[in-house]
């Protein structure tokens, strides 16, 4: 049985009909063509499918699409305003805070939620906030570094010892 639902996705209103058993991640990717949420584990373990629902991160692989009815969703595609990267994205770029980049959409959304609540998080708070987002490449320190630098928050432990020169 199809259900009609509508929600706001990246500031655009969406109305569509889907079956009750459809999973949000699959609807976003396959029906709406929003590809930044990725499927890394399909059971809530890795965080690559992270999207913001009303500003809070959820794992879209374990959310039914019907649950999005009436909600406001944001994916990485919706973070940019007028084609400009957010300061957080800019910081990721400047700190080379990704390697393969597969985890990046989820990590950036998790960090977005964190900075919204806590603009100057400590290194430990950053680590806690992104600990549900698995990254196999970076060893996380460059990610922590990028998040810490967005609002010139406290220097997290490990950062200056990475030995990176400040890039011009």
């Amino acid at each position: 049985m199809k259900k009609k639902l509508s929600f706001v996705l990246n500031d655009r209103k969406i109305t569509l009909e889907i079956a009750a058993q459809e999973v949000l991640l699959e609807v976003l990717r396959d029906k709406l063509g929003v590809k930044s949420p990725k499927c890394g584990c399909d059971r809530g373990d890795c965080g690559t499918c992270t999207v913001l629902m009303n500003g809070k991160t959820v794992r879209s692989c374990i959310v039914l699409a019907v649950e999005a009815d009436g909600q406001r969703l944001t994916t990485l595609e919706g973070l940019m305003k007028d084609g400009q990267m957010t300061p957080l994205q800019q910081s990721f770029l400047e700190h080379n805070s990704f390697q393969c980049g597969f985890c990046a959409p989820g990590v950036i959304l998790a960090a977005t939620e964190l900075l919204e609540r806590n603009p100057k998080p400590s290194g430990d708070e950053i680590k806690e906030a992104i600990s549900g987002n698995l990254c196999r490449c970076t060893g996380y320190l460059p990610i922590v570094e990028a998040i810490a630098n967005v609002n010139n928050a406290l220097t997290p432990p490990g950062r200056e010892r990475l030995g990176k020169k400040v890039r011009s």
Partner: protein, 779 residues
């Protein structure tokens, strides 16, 4: 090498923007339109069995099902170094999860439902789940036809056994060496299987169009190798290499797992079964764990002979590898480890037996470190114990035996220039090696651990790289290579090399992802060889462009060739001060002559690199002769840990890793490799571990129970140290570093645990539980 403008600088990655805006496309992000079909695999529930029958009738009748195929439709074997793997199981299955049949349907739900309707009858055979059973006299043979399998000339399968390859190294006289020694002792170390856990699982889409051309889009480290293997395996269908095309978009992490060919062969084969429609096959996380490659398990018996003064005089290594059901790639891991199992030490008398053993567990294969992580766990643990027995400082003991330029390697040829001693000294200094750390908390104790490492690229001697460089109208350029961006940042490194030669800034360079139709040949993105091999090819292609440019300017404008040079995207002359011709003025359209005719035309450079000095041929009984390895990258790592004596938990206040990279083309990216590699390696040391039940079923094919590190599990300080002793044949002196940063992690931790507690743990992983229970039983 001063005056370099791009090489050696910490350039920002050129793949950054797509990756952090979500624009980067991975294979599952590509669109294939409404004709796309989905495949679901019917898998073996048994570790070892004969297939009696496969009944697909019910599945075929299900609406939405397009086709059901099985082994009889694809009676092909394939493999990278040995043809022992099957597209679909034929008369037998050899591990739990092996592909037996596939359902192709219009949508994934139908495919999954129909797959459950395929009925396969088996006759179960006894399963061999460990190396000891596989090596028993008269064992059940997992591959009875082993002797007939095609393989590379440097493999030595043993008839009527489960030994797929046996690498023997005999150098000097090991027995005489032990006689000479003041101290001889041996021990056994074990390493379980591990999983790569790239966060993107494997996926591939195949399309066999009506003209008979096969295109495969794959998350792959090895597009050209895949093309070759697809064409070879499917040759009976009349495919030529030119008709096979592999396109690799961004890859969400590889670590060796996406090298060679594993599940991608299914996309290629299934596509031929549904001509005209693209068919997608995407591995679930569970399949990613049990049906790609796993890092092989190892039981290593290590026997060492040393003089009182600390000189190692003899080493015997018996390495038994649990290589799994198919070893087409894994046997080369065994080979590479066998050739190098002395570690980076000068040892006159050596005996190494590295045996690749079939078992009924999932296929083993390449994983960052390619066998070196595994044997170095035992060897570097053993080196520490030896130092202890001799009353020598373990760092000093390593220093005394460290291999140096010109020393003979196990197979006879000479060691390349290297900065091992410098690495040892710098790593030790970085964690204040000689300072004993006192813990403030009475419940905890601190210790320090050290390990040296080395690794050579394991490549066929003719592994080649090629590059094209194409200029555009505005003087920007596209670099075409078929190396793969798996996160290491090779695109940025290639751009830096091209930029250095052609004086074009990185903002004007694109490095394209592989497409075997468009980009030139590359063997594979493995073996940490891309910076070196592909880097050489790109440098040569850039130099080719430069030659064309300067030659043209001489020819068209009469400038003296030897005075011409490039600077800031402009041709200048040392003799004519005001001569300045921007590249954009002629890179495509040439230079206009007075009469209105043009000279030149589009600048396209070509570069190729093959290590022509390499040879894998050597004596089967001794491995002497030949030069199987092009060079070694060496280094050392040191760690300080704090152990909670009650819980067994390990905290890592600081860890340092020094590696001789020859020349860091982008030091920032090299440091990032150190951080990422160490974290990955430390996880194998502390908690990662694949567990199988008594039926050969993997018990933890998910991140709930195969724990990989989170942001909360990283060391508090990571100190990357880059040493640069140039590699004479590397671009700007560079050699590879991607894998190396993971290799020393496990023995370094084991040695630190021993240092803190006096307890030697000889089996990985060294979990909190193992430590706590060991402390308890020691009391």
């Amino acid at each position: 090498m001063n005056g370099l403008k791009f090489v050696g600088h910490e350039e920002i990655r050129i793949d950054g923007k797509p990756k952090i805006t979500g624009a980067a496309q991975f294979v599952d992000d590509l669109d294939f339109g409404p004709g796309l079909l989905y495949a679901e695999i019917v898998e073996s529930p048994l570790a070892h069995a004969e297939i009696k029958s496969i009944d697909t009738a019910k599945a075929e009748q299900m609406p939405g099902v397009v086709k059901v195929v099985s082994g009889k439709d694809f009676p092909f074997r394939f493999g990278l170094y040995m043809h022992d793997r099957f597209v679909f199981a034929q008369d037998r299955v050899r591990f739990v999860g092996e592909q037996v049949a596939a359902v192709i349907a219009r949508d994934p739900v139908t495919a999954k439902k129909a797959a459950k309707l395929v009925k396969v009858r088996y006759r179960e055979l006894p399963a061999i789940l460990n190396v000891e059973d596989a090596l028993k006299p008269h064992p059940l043979l997992i591959h009875p036809d082993l002797k007939s399998y095609k393989h590379v000339p440097w493999f030595f399968p043993q008839a009527n056994s489960n030994i797929a390859h046996w690498r023997k190294v005999r150098k000097g006289d090991v027995e005489a060496g032990f006689k000479q020694a003041d101290l001889v002792f041996e021990d056994t170390y074990t390493v379980p299987r591990y999983a790569h856990c790239a966060i993107e699982t494997h996926g591939a889409v195949g399309l066999f169009d009506y003209s008979g051309r096969l295109t495969v889009w794959a998350a792959s480290q090895s597009p050209f190798t895949q093309r070759n293997l697809f064409a070879e395996a499917l040759a009976p269908l009349g495919l030529s290499h030119k008709d096979v095309r592999v396109i690799a978009p961004f890859v969400g992490g590889g670590f060796g797992g996406k090298a060679g060919v594993s599940m991608e062969i299914l996309a290629a084969a299934l596509a031929t079964a549904v001509q005209g429609n693209p068919v997608k096959i995407l591995w679930s996380r569970a399949q990613e764990f049990y049906n790609t490659y796993q890092r092989q398990g190892l039981t290593a018996k290590t026997k060492i002979g040393v003089k009182k003064d600390g000189a190692i005089v003899a080493l015997e290594q018996t390495l038994h590898w649990d290589a799994g059901a198919y070893v087409e790639y894994g046997a080369n891991v065994v080979n590479a480890a066998g050739l190098s199992a002395t570690g980076p030490y000068r040892i006159p008398n050596v005996k190494i037996d590295s045996c690749c053993v079939y078992t009924n567990l999932p296929p083993g294969g390449p994983y960052r470190g390619f066998g070196y992580s595994e044997f170095l766990f035992g060897l570097e643990s053993h080196i520490n114990e030896t130092a202890k027995k001799l009353g020598l400082d373990p760092v000093e003991f390593r220093r005394r035996n460290a291999i140096q330029e010109g020393d003979p390697l196990t197979y006879g040829s000479k060691m390349n220039p290297n900065g091992l001693i410098e690495c040892i000294d710098k790593a030790a200094r970085a964690i204040e090696w000689s300072k004993k750390e006192q813990s403030e908390n009475p419940k905890t104790v601190r210790g320090k651990g050290f390990a040296c490492f080395w690794k050579a690229p394991a490549m066929p001697p003719n592994a080649s790289s090629t590059a094209f460089i194409k200029f555009n109208e505005d003087g920007s350029l596209n670099v075409l290579v078929s190396a793969m961006e798996i996160g290491q940042g090779f695109q940025t490194v290639m751009a830096q090399i091209a930029a250095e030669v052609l004086t074009v800034p990185l903002s004007k360079i694109r490095v394209e992802l592989p497409d075997t139709d468009r980009n030139p040949y590359e063997w594979q993105t493995v073996a940490s060889h891309i910076t070196w091999g592909t880097g050489n090819a790109v440098k040569r292609a850039a130099e080719d462009c430069r030659e064309q440019i300067l030659e043209l300017v001489e020819r068209a404008l009469g400038q003296k060739r030897e005075d011409l040079y490039l600077e800031s995207e402009t041709v200048r002359s040392r003799s004519v001060a005001d001569f300045a011709l921007p590249l954009r003025d002629f890179a495509i359209n040439g230079i206009m002559m007075k009469d209105g005719t043009y000279r030149g035309g589009p600048i396209v450079g070509r570069g190729m690199f093959m290590p022509e000095f390499s040879s894998a041929l050597s004596d089967a009984e001794t491995s002497q002769g030949g030069k199987p390895n092009v060079h070694y990258t060496v280094g050392a790592a040191a760690v300080e840990i704090e152990i909670d004596k009650e819980t067994g938990r390990v905290r890592i206040p600081r860890v340092a890793l020094a590696v001789d990279v020859g020349k860091a083309i982008n030091p920032g990216l090299v440091r990032d490799q150190v951080v990422g590699g160490l974290v990955q390696g430390i996880a194998t040391a502390l908690y990662e571990d694949m567990r199988f039940d008594a039926k050969g079923r993997l018990l933890n094919p998910n991140f709930t129970d195969y724990k990989i590190p989170t942001a909360m599990d990283v060391p508090e300080r990571v100190i990357p140290i880059l040493v640069e002793v140039a590699q004479p044949d590397g671009p700007y002196g560079a050699r590879g570093v991607g894998e190396h940063t993971m290799i020393p992690a496990a023995p370094m931790i084991a040695n630190a645990v021993e240092n803190a507690l006096g307890i030697r743990i000889k089996s990985m992983p060294i979990t909190a539980e193992k430590i706590a229970l060991a402390i308890k039983s020691k009391r």
